[in-house]
Symmetry: D2
Subunit: 414 residues, 4 copies
Amino acid sequence: MPEVKFRVDQSRLFAEQEVLGHNRWHPDVPPVATVRPGEEFRLECREWFDGAIRNDDSADDVRDCDFTQVHKLSGPIAVEGAEPGDLLMVDIVDLGPVPQEKGPVAGQGWGYTGIFARENGGGFLTDHFPGAYKAVWDFRGQTATSRHIPGVSFVGIAHPGLMGTAPSAELLARWNKREGDLIATNPSRVPPLALPPTAENAVLGSLSGAEFERAAQEAARTAPPRENGGNQDIKNLSRGSRVFYPVFVPGAKLSVGDLHFSQGDGEITFCGAIEMGGYIDLHVDVIKGGMEAYGVETPVFIPGRVEPRYSEYLAFAGLSVTESGEQRYLDSHLAYQRACLNAINYLTKFGYTPEQAYLFLGAAPIEGRFSGVVDIPNSCATVYIPTEVFDFDPRPSAGPPKRVDRGQCAVSSR
Amino acid sequence: MPEVKFRVDQSRLFAEQEVLGHNRWHPDVPPVATVRPGEEFRLECREWFDGAIRNDDSADDVRDCDFTQVHKLSGPIAVEGAEPGDLLMVDIVDLGPVPQEKGPVAGQGWGYTGIFARENGGGFLTDHFPGAYKAVWDFRGQTATSRHIPGVSFVGIAHPGLMGTAPSAELLARWNKREGDLIATNPSRVPPLALPPTAENAVLGSLSGAEFERAAQEAARTAPPRENGGNQDIKNLSRGSRVFYPVFVPGAKLSVGDLHFSQGDGEITFCGAIEMGGYIDLHVDVIKGGMEAYGVETPVFIPGRVEPRYSEYLAFAGLSVTESGEQRYLDSHLAYQRACLNAINYLTKFGYTPEQAYLFLGAAPIEGRFSGVVDIPNSCATVYIPTEVFDFDPRPSAGPPKRVDRGQCAVSSR
Amino acid sequence: MPEVKFRVDQSRLFAEQEVLGHNRWHPDVPPVATVRPGEEFRLECREWFDGAIRNDDSADDVRDCDFTQVHKLSGPIAVEGAEPGDLLMVDIVDLGPVPQEKGPVAGQGWGYTGIFARENGGGFLTDHFPGAYKAVWDFRGQTATSRHIPGVSFVGIAHPGLMGTAPSAELLARWNKREGDLIATNPSRVPPLALPPTAENAVLGSLSGAEFERAAQEAARTAPPRENGGNQDIKNLSRGSRVFYPVFVPGAKLSVGDLHFSQGDGEITFCGAIEMGGYIDLHVDVIKGGMEAYGVETPVFIPGRVEPRYSEYLAFAGLSVTESGEQRYLDSHLAYQRACLNAINYLTKFGYTPEQAYLFLGAAPIEGRFSGVVDIPNSCATVYIPTEVFDFDPRPSAGPPKRVDRGQCAVSSR
Amino acid sequence: MPEVKFRVDQSRLFAEQEVLGHNRWHPDVPPVATVRPGEEFRLECREWFDGAIRNDDSADDVRDCDFTQVHKLSGPIAVEGAEPGDLLMVDIVDLGPVPQEKGPVAGQGWGYTGIFARENGGGFLTDHFPGAYKAVWDFRGQTATSRHIPGVSFVGIAHPGLMGTAPSAELLARWNKREGDLIATNPSRVPPLALPPTAENAVLGSLSGAEFERAAQEAARTAPPRENGGNQDIKNLSRGSRVFYPVFVPGAKLSVGDLHFSQGDGEITFCGAIEMGGYIDLHVDVIKGGMEAYGVETPVFIPGRVEPRYSEYLAFAGLSVTESGEQRYLDSHLAYQRACLNAINYLTKFGYTPEQAYLFLGAAPIEGRFSGVVDIPNSCATVYIPTEVFDFDPRPSAGPPKRVDRGQCAVSSR
């Protein structure tokens, strides 16, 4: 087992750990440790909501969660010799849930997928699913099942939802400018267009006093992926993957968090992956001057070899036409929404509630593809569901689908 | 070999065939043949541009092509007993290029990929590639190579770019309304927002006289995918796939065309696939009342088992930020553009021209995925390039990339 | 389409073709054509039994077939510059069945799998299956189904059962010596231990007169694989594979035949593949001095990328203990027999006759593996059946298997 | 984490644990725990040689090891309600190495592969490799590398080498009879034909006194696989696999051991896998009367979905002709030996010693297949090496192979 460079006591809150991580991006967050190129090490991670979501049958916790808290990141780790302009090569050697007895924290034998309420976060299909919902998943080795979504069992595709290097001051300023400009176009939108910096609940490692105050005002929120990687939520960054990150500050300052037991392409319910606390083992190296040599300004990666292997899929297509019939011009985002809605509607014919189907699409290793992006005016997006994860045959057959009562996911009290 | 229900003489133009196909969608195009559920049959197909694109080293033909001509469709085939509300189950039993001596028509041992000029069609990245370009690919079994893009060789993922059932009059009217509304928002845009009906170069099978005149005025152009399937350009509809199409008219009236030897997700250069004439063998069956029973309003499909098998990919991510730095809100289409541009830029470091890299991404079996669609304000899209298709190692390594002169694709004379 | 270097009129017998192939290995068989390194070309092939096996419901033809006839080989093709000691690099660019209307010859839309009678050929399990049996398979694209084995449908793994270079006179002499020595240990065995040279029904291309007489007496039979490749029956030599053959004579003299639409590992019924006539497209090159440089004395190969993709298997193990309970020492051949018998016995619980199950294992893309070869005294062999080829679930479940009447394969009249 | 039903203190010898396991098969070994059908539980395991093999650069430990010690099994676990004639359904939920700091016992961050000396165990190719050799492998997540075999790095295919149910007294007697009969044919052979019962070093759980004495005299050694499963060394029994074992005694009495971090088909060096201590999580259920209902007399299994995914292989064929040129009749075991020797010889051209190559073939996820088993008189066996595990291109190319000094594996002092 590699040396632990960031240790987490899973029985304590993120802000009460011996060594503090961070939940904002800022170049001045001091490193918690320094490693050499070629070194392998372990980071332990809190789940992204710091234990606020419980293993129960109510979605009240999802409804009421506080977004200023997230994400709980482990790091930053400084890499000796890494300089701006280099590429940081990161191998995801291994990762897994909290290796302890089944307990109260996600990762200890279970995880969760949530649908945020429109008033508090929203999601990909928030117009159809304005409420808060939740599914709890039990882990059996690499397999997940849920009492809230009976009839499915799949091998998870574990990965860190969030990993990245620290931005330079210049890059951070650019982020704040462009996101602020966007927010300014509709500041009162619900859900918001973007999340501006806020000192509320900010944690910036060992920064304190005036330095903390200044940095907290300008540090970037962690929700979006950006040029430094960050919350990319790429399900294929699984075990054995190699990622090349741009380096923007001396030492690169790598941080990780938001571990996922599994996720479908898009993480469509926002909290769409199966969230868990756990550990991740990394190996790092540096390609000097790699950004310019390879023309890399956002992360590039090579997926690993142990993704779950399914060979039969049922696929749904969507077009860039709104549900009310309005034609949009090559809007692939809309097309993927329609593809997902088509899949959800289909699954309800077998007895799932729309919320169950939505949660399933967020968590299972589904594939979401840009199929046609040029055939004016319609984009064509497709979503592929592995049929072998169901304990029934979900494919169309000569007769009608056999509808079975499949219960309900966890809902909120209002 | 199954019975040929639509025969094509590849030495003659589409409009000069003994039995005429069609190049518009209209419910009144008479069927060229009728088959029974459970029957298997072959359709022969002209390539989508009817032979206008040549196996040479100039892109003038691509620059000057006439979009009112496309697509050249084989059919419609009526299926006995199929009624509106049913699902038409179509098995893609086999497909392939023109089985003859190497000749002047795409499909006879070769195919092409084109980038349309901005003034005549455009494409996914038309702002970066406003000119016309072309690559000719040679077929060796299921493998493609190109003198215009040296150093790559890949197994194609053959599929029909376009297949679908006829719209009802009501559905056709809806299409025309919504697309007309879109065009009306910017009628003079170049390239246009959508393509309105036009009688110019319309072919509607055996329709003639007043019936032809009326239908040609309202028949839908074939460029976009729609509820009937159509030009979906889904690369995974390969051999062995099963597709379920909604039926909108009695007999379903199935048509096929635009065969592709290979294509990447998105068919990003517009003429991005490797275009070819050829044949396709289909098997059809009917699920009575299947649309409502399964909640299917756009095609659903099950991919086949013989897609090319690659296990190593190099993946590029893109965000929904414009190149000038403007932040867009969860725009996955833009994110995929940025991912593709990142990949193109990367490949130029190994000596390809941007046009070669762009053409390659359109034609090779690359994967394009919606990776994150909820992390406001950034979408994260990813494009996966199989590394094993290159005769060099395209992965980042300790040193800089080895740049080699890789020539040039076919360009236009102005 | 590449140039045809060996043309077959599928309506005529092998011995009545315009250009004669051969059915024995001998260095003196003259080449039918010469190609250059880097050249691609097509060979047309008769099916291995020259049309003697019919598309009907009797196995009398299998019972009565004459083994001195086989195999019907297309070639030899001389390769310019190839010299003894070189490696001949052969790419299997493409292959397929006879591209014509459904007809009387295997390959024209159908193929067959046979079990030879013990008195005439025998097979892997001839003690259990002493009679003659047959299944006829219909081709739908790359998929095979059989009226003689209902309930299964699989994507075939097409390959040439037999391909190889000509032996030198010295190598041929070595073959005849060692095989003659084996036969001498039990000359009257039924089935025989090996097949000695015989002039009966020998075809040696354009050789005639005294040269023919001499060569026919010493030419090797084609049944076994040998150092030159030959009848290796390796199912994974499918489309896109690259094979490196030792060169033993000037020009290498490559020959091909015994095309298979599909086959399981081992081709266990002897005529276990789905036999067909057809065509094969090859590309050749030469590695000078490659035999010594790479230490290659028997063929080496790189499988292609388009093998059918299944992800669920049911696997059976076998040990090197005879059915009567006798312990054999690390006999992997016996262990594989026991594994296959276990699989056959299992499949009969679902209603197949043992003969149907045996024929199925010969023809479908099953995997046969050496699992343990060192754990004295028992070898452990395993056979993997893709479960997705059945139209029912063949896996063990809580209750007993559902036995269904699945008819019978073609049997012989006595 | 499931409840631990067999706990191992990895710092103590097998015979010094608090609860004793066993290293012989006998129906009277008392269960260490009882579980219910549907229950999931964890067993911890010593590595098969109880820590005798060290992480060093000498093979003396391999040379001197005592075979009467092995295998160290965890169990037996009784399953409520399981009766003779039932099938025990065992899901391999998860398994892994010792989850602790790198330490002195195999499994703690490292494992080993050994070649036994001919005088002490031997192996698949013992005539070529009569000495003792060893390679130590370091674990990085699921990936293995070795200082003794530089240039290779592969994802392991973890599995229990040995798992099985207890034999009935009748079955045990049958084993002893048949194996004794074999030994009697050549009692002085080196290595021996089989291993007879011996009380030396026998451990039989909590059995003691006269009961122990009797049982130890008749208990079967664990080396060979048998009808109860046992030491099958099937590499594909990896995470997520489901195995169906015959039940011979009340409670089934399931035992497990000999965990492997990885292994090639055949485990050809005898100690060919990467051996490790660790843990395994199992889920059990019972199919009442399943042996007769499904015709199962030896284990049947369904492999899991997370085997490492390679797509390029270099394959070597072997024939059933001895190296001295003697023809054997359809001897697949010999054919696989020849295939492996061909692969070893090939790898030496790139600079490996034969011992390194042999150890590599034992440990990496190579595939060993019965390719042709009927083409008299030659069997054809094939061994497939994933080319992507090397840090150089191991495929034949136009020039000669680039030979590099790759050092040496661990050897013995005499």
